[in-house]
């Protein structure tokens, strides 16, 4: 284990980006990291709102058209190595919004997240359970720690 990996494993920073879901996953993820019951911070996982200090990008929502460019900008602003976790049914497969205009081709929904940025881990659920978010982040960690 390199010194860098050792240091990084003590402070994993999550950034949450919200691309047009229903708020449910969002609150559950903030709940999972911050609230005293689940408290991911005790495992050394912190929530940040600055892409430049983030290691893991957690994306919720089906990526609406207006949110596509901000999402790509945020993804590019995160330094390497980085991971992307798609959390919730909307982010994983478009959810109920995928075919929002039926058979008519829709420009409104760009998602699932895979279509926009590469995804490393998927957390299913509507809304995601805090335990699942933790499991998803932990499952993706080896990629991050073995990166260099």
């Amino acid at each position: 284990m390199s010194l860098k990996t050792h240091a990084r494993s003590k402070a994993i920073h999550i950034m949450l980006v919200y691309t047009g879901g229903c708020n449910g996953c969002d609150i559950e993820i903030v709940n999972a990291v911050l609230s005293p019951k689940f408290d991911m911070e005790q495992y050394g996982v912190f929530l940040t709102w600055n892409p430049r200090e983030a290691d893991i990008l957690v994306v919720t929502g089906p990526v609406t058209h207006d949110n596509k460019e901000p999402l790509i900008d945020i993804y590019n602003a995160i330094p390497n190595p980085k991971l992307v976790v798609a959390a919730g049914a909307c982010a994983v497969m478009g959810g109920v919004y995928k075919n929002c205009y039926g058979d008519i081709p829709s420009e409104e929904i760009e998602g699932p997240v895979e279509n926009v940025i590469p995804v490393d881990a998927k957390v299913p659920g509507c809304a995601v359970r805090p335990q699942d978010v933790l499991a998803g982040v932990v499952a993706a960690l080896p990629h991050l720690l073995n990166a260099d």
């Binding site: 980006v17 047009g20 609150i27 205009y101 409104e108 509507c126």
Partner: protein
């Protein structure tokens, strides 16, 4: 040597804009603060990046499916949307809902109000930069989330209503009733301690007293709804008009001052009222079946339904044709409260700007609907009404 001269001092007007993705704001929206010497002179909130067209997806779906879909409008008051959508269909089809089902719906809705208000307190205190209070509110909220998970089977999307009653999953047996009562006792004790600590904290009070003031007159003019309106002293609560709440005895809480302090205390007092309603509902819970399946699907004209949800008045409307939904319209309370958010920012310090927005309990995800504002006097489309009411 040339004499040095100071630049003439003058007030510089700047524009500070945030969003659409910003640390201080969980949800994507854009706000522009027009600042003069660190004092906000005007604020403008733009939404629309979240638009997903739920009404369009509902169009042409079978009514039962469309009802389930409305749950996905908002992740905080999900049950309220299902309830109102189901209620719309019930009004149109003339379905009699069994008493027991009505009581269970009220219990779930009041539990939802509890979790929404506690989320508000948590979010509000976080925006106040008081993390200890925030964590405490989130901790109390977990009790409610467990109860909702127990009743509905999911922590967030737990809508319990179906046409003619509630889902069989949401039947309350003795074990569940005992758990709900235990939970209510715990929440009441914890919130009382929280509130007691909160109102005796002079540092917090100095920050929130007088901040984000909304006068009553302006609140009525902007047509804001829910606890945000009641905090300005207007005694208006749609629960008094709903037949579901006929048998319950509760007070409508109002506050006079209309500032952040009033808004926060408003929610605290409403929590106690909700606990009171849940206890009454459990005490008087009628026996009998929870679903009435003897209704028939018929074609109807346009049906409308208004209910009171944690953030204010919710409106659903659609017509039924061949068992399918036609011309669905949803109006959420945050939509009307946006005017209040913009107004509350004016004449406050820039550091309180976010607090003034959060005090109106925003939920921009549910408010991203396609709207048209009509000027009823001239009978024409007017996009400037929301803005012009402020000035």
């Amino acid at each position: 040597m040339e004499e040095k001269k100071a630049k003439k001092q003058e007030i510089i007007e700047t524009e500070i804009q945030m969003g659409t993705v910003h640390p201080a704001a969980l949800e994507p929206y854009r706000v522009r603060f027009f600042v003069e010497d660190e004092i906000i002179k005007d604020a403008e909130i733009t939404i629309g990046v979240n638009h997903r067209g739920i009404e369009r997806i509902m169009e042409g779906l079978p009514v039962e499916k469309a009802n389930m879909l409305t749950e996905k409008i908002c992740g905080i008051c999900s049950n309220a949307h299902t309830w109102n959508s189901v209620r719309t269909a019930e009004i149109g089809l003339g379905v009699e809902v069994p008493d027991r089902a009505v009581y269970i719906r009220v219990i779930v809705e009041e539990l939802e109000r509890l979790q929404s208000h506690l989320l508000y307190l948590g979010h509000g205190c976080e925006t106040l930069a008081h993390e200890t209070f925030s964590m405490r509110a989130f901790y109390i909220r977990e009790t409610i989330m467990d109860l909702l998970g127990m009743i509905g089977g999911n922590r967030v999307q737990y809508g319990c209503s179906i046409i003619g009653g509630v889902r069989p999953r949401c039947e309350l047996d003795d074990n569940r009733i005992r758990k709900i009562l235990d939970g209510m006792g715990l929440v009441e004790k914890n919130v009382a301690e929280f509130a007691d600590r909160f109102v005796h904290d002079s540092i917090v009070l100095s920050r929130i007293t007088g901040t984000g003031y909304i006068p009553q007159e302006q609140a009525l003019k902007l047509a804001i709804t829910g606890p945000t309106l009641r905090a300005t002293g207007v005694k208006r609560d749609l629960r008094t008009d709903m037949y579901e709440y006929d048998n319950f005895d509760f007070d409508i809480i109002t506050q006079d001052t209309g500032d952040v302090k009033a808004q926060l205390l408003m929610r605290v007092f409403e929590i106690f009222e909700s606990i009171k309603i849940v206890r009454q509902a459990i005490r008087d819970l009628p026996e009998g079946k929870i679903t009435d399946r003897s209704w028939e699907m018929i074609d109807t004209g346009l049906i409308e339904s208004y209910i009171e949800i944690p953030r204010g008045t919710l409106y659903h409307s659609y017509a039924i044709e061949d068992g399918r939904v036609r011309h669905s319209i949803v109006r959420t309370p945050s939509m009307t409260n946006i005017g209040a958010m913009q107004y509350a920012c004016i004449d406050n310090h820039i550091t309180d700007g976010q607090l003034c927005i959060v005090q109106c309990d925003p939920c921009f995800t549910c408010s991203d609907r396609a709207i048209e504002v009509y000027d009823t006097k001239n009978n024409k489309l007017d996009k400037s009404i929301l803005q012009s009411n402020i000035h």
